[in-house]
């Protein structure tokens, strides 16, 4: 595998994990524009716990789970106040949370302040790929459970979901906290792969991109985040590649402009995201409908 392709796949893995972290709350109808904050927490926590020189010197086998638990705990705690807000307010509150985290980290000397922090243990690409696969499987499983069904029901109509017995508040808190934990995991893996963490890299643009992966991929099924991350990771690269091959430099320079415009156009043609329930049903429908009622071929 060429280095370039591997680099791209690393980004894809990280993006997919981040996207699942935003997807879980989004599937239950909450928009999280603070991904960067959770990623920062996970990255720095694992870096600090793992570091021989400045931190606790614990092995990466432990530091990554510790980072995940730490991010989960923080997300769980802030979920209660943040989930009192909704809609635009929640977008703003999560956004503000991420900015506060970034602002705090760059002032903590023991975390290297604005210079960032080296990370000792290295996580190779295959490790990253395995974890990504596990995260994807976990989210697919979660969405297939009754709990996942309740999340999707809450997304569509929370008062009716309540009337059928769903504990809306708890489900939302858990979705938010589990999502936070996944983003913490992503951040920790980022640090261990690149062996350096720097708060400036986890900025508002990252949060925006991740929210876009999820909303463009589609919040109705667990395929959405993968498709969104794939799309967002490869489309700019495709433009870059085309630009280089054809010698048309504007394709390479303008790839993000085109990309922004593609987002706008996507909202026109597929406002519910690329992957919707109806699409999946159309792909697998014939096979699935058969056993229920052969007469219903219509």
């Amino acid at each position: 595998m060429s280095g370039e392709l591997e680099g791209l796949l690393v980004i894809l893995c990280l993006n997919t994990i981040y996207a699942y972290g935003v997807f879980l709350p989004a599937a239950s109808g909450q928009l999280n524009l603070g991904a960067a904050g959770f990623i920062t927490l996970g990255a720095y926590c694992s870096a600090f716990v793992n570091s021989e020189l400045d931190g606790l010197g614990v092995s990466a086998w432990m530091s990554i789970p510790i980072a995940v638990l730490f991010t989960a705990a923080v997300s769980f705690l802030i979920a209660f106040p943040i989930l009192r807000t909704r809609g635009v307010y929640m977008v703003l509150a999560t956004f503000a949370f991420a900015e506060v985290v970034a602002g705090l980290i760059i002032n903590l000397e023991f975390l290297g302040a604005a210079q960032g922090m080296p990370v000792d243990a290295h996580m190779p690409f295959y490790g990253l790929a395995i974890v990504t696969l596990l995260v994807a499987l976990f989210c697919h499983y979660l969405m297939a459970t009754r709990c996942g069904l309740a999340m999707r029901a809450i997304h569509d109509d929370e008062s009716v979901a309540t009337l059928f017995g769903a504990n809306v508040r708890m489900i939302r808190v858990w979705a938010f906290a589990t999502g936070g934990a996944l983003m913490g995991l992503g951040g920790a893996l980022y640090g261990h792969h690149f062996n350096y963490v720097e708060a400036q890299n986890f900025n508002i643009l990252l949060s925006i991109y991740i929210l876009l992966y999820v909303l463009l991929g589609g919040t109705q099924t667990a395929w959405g985040p993968v498709v969104g991350a794939l799309f967002f990771t490869f489309v700019p690269e495709l433009f870059r590649y085309l630009g280089r091959e054809t010698g048309e430099k504007w394709l390479e320079d303008g790839r993000f402009v085109a990309f922004g415009l593609i987002i706008v156009i996507m909202m026109v043609i597929r406002p519910e995201g690329v992957v919707t329930r109806t699409l999946l049903e159309r792909i697998t429908g014939g096979r699935r409908r058969q056993p229920a009622s052969p007469a219903a071929a219509e």
Partner: protein
Amino acid sequence: MDVLLQQVVNGLMLGGVYVMVAVAFTLVIGMLNFLNFTIPALFMVAAVMMWAAMAGGFGADIDAVLDDVLGAPNKWIAGVIIALVVVSLASLVIERFTYRYMKAKYGDATEHALPLVSSLGFLIAFEHLVIGRWGSDPLTIDSPFGNASFHLGAVQFSIPQVISLALSLAIVFGLSLMLRKTRLGRAVRSIAERPDTATLMGVDVGRIVPVVYVIAGLLCAIAGILFTINYTTVDAYIGDKVATVAIAGMVLGGLGNVWGAIVGGLFVGLLEVLSIHFFGASIVKVPIWGMLLLILVMRPTGLFGHTAIGKGKF
């Protein structure tokens, strides 16, 4: 004491920029319940247009034309015109691709995010248009007005800044007056309160909404222009850095509340400058966004308790 007073003055001057952007945000959110993330982009575009006109960013040919027509010291006039025209046109395009998603089809939770997504798409596109043309490094100008200033006691007032603050407050007050007194203003408020009824009463929603977008865009554009003149350094991400702070000001004043946005904008300006003064530049995000977080959680209606999302108590 004098140093502190000077900081207060500087904070209010910076607040003047935030006020305009906060009012732009609040106008769109109050009317359409839409957090318009193209506002930072429009702010940035105007600021960069201003820079480009003054620093020859449009290329030698255009620069020569500007030199001939206006003369070197007056090129800022061209910047103002270009910025206003570009932003107005951009606002109209943006309106086409965001307003149409305001009508809920299923009423589910992520539906209202659709215009937000489109606006983020525009934000990315605009930022990279600028990066593609001028790169992502800081772009600086020499202030066309030099260091013109006067003193009141020990406090120094920069003349362009004082004019900017006065101008932005005048524009915002004028806007508020317009919303209250003119037919257009009444139409805007009626749409904000009851879009369906407004349509029945003969208000042409399809024509008023673009006007509101352009007004919001022009507010950001003027803010961007004044920012370039007063602070002389801009870059492609200036919208993310500066205009998002205005969001904090808007929330402080209560979403959809124009007067709240004025107070909130001035307050975040003060808060920013004073935090830098007392705690250093690196910490500045914490008080501003921490305050926003606290307000959202404790008192989401803002300080004045007039939330008016989609209800437009302008």
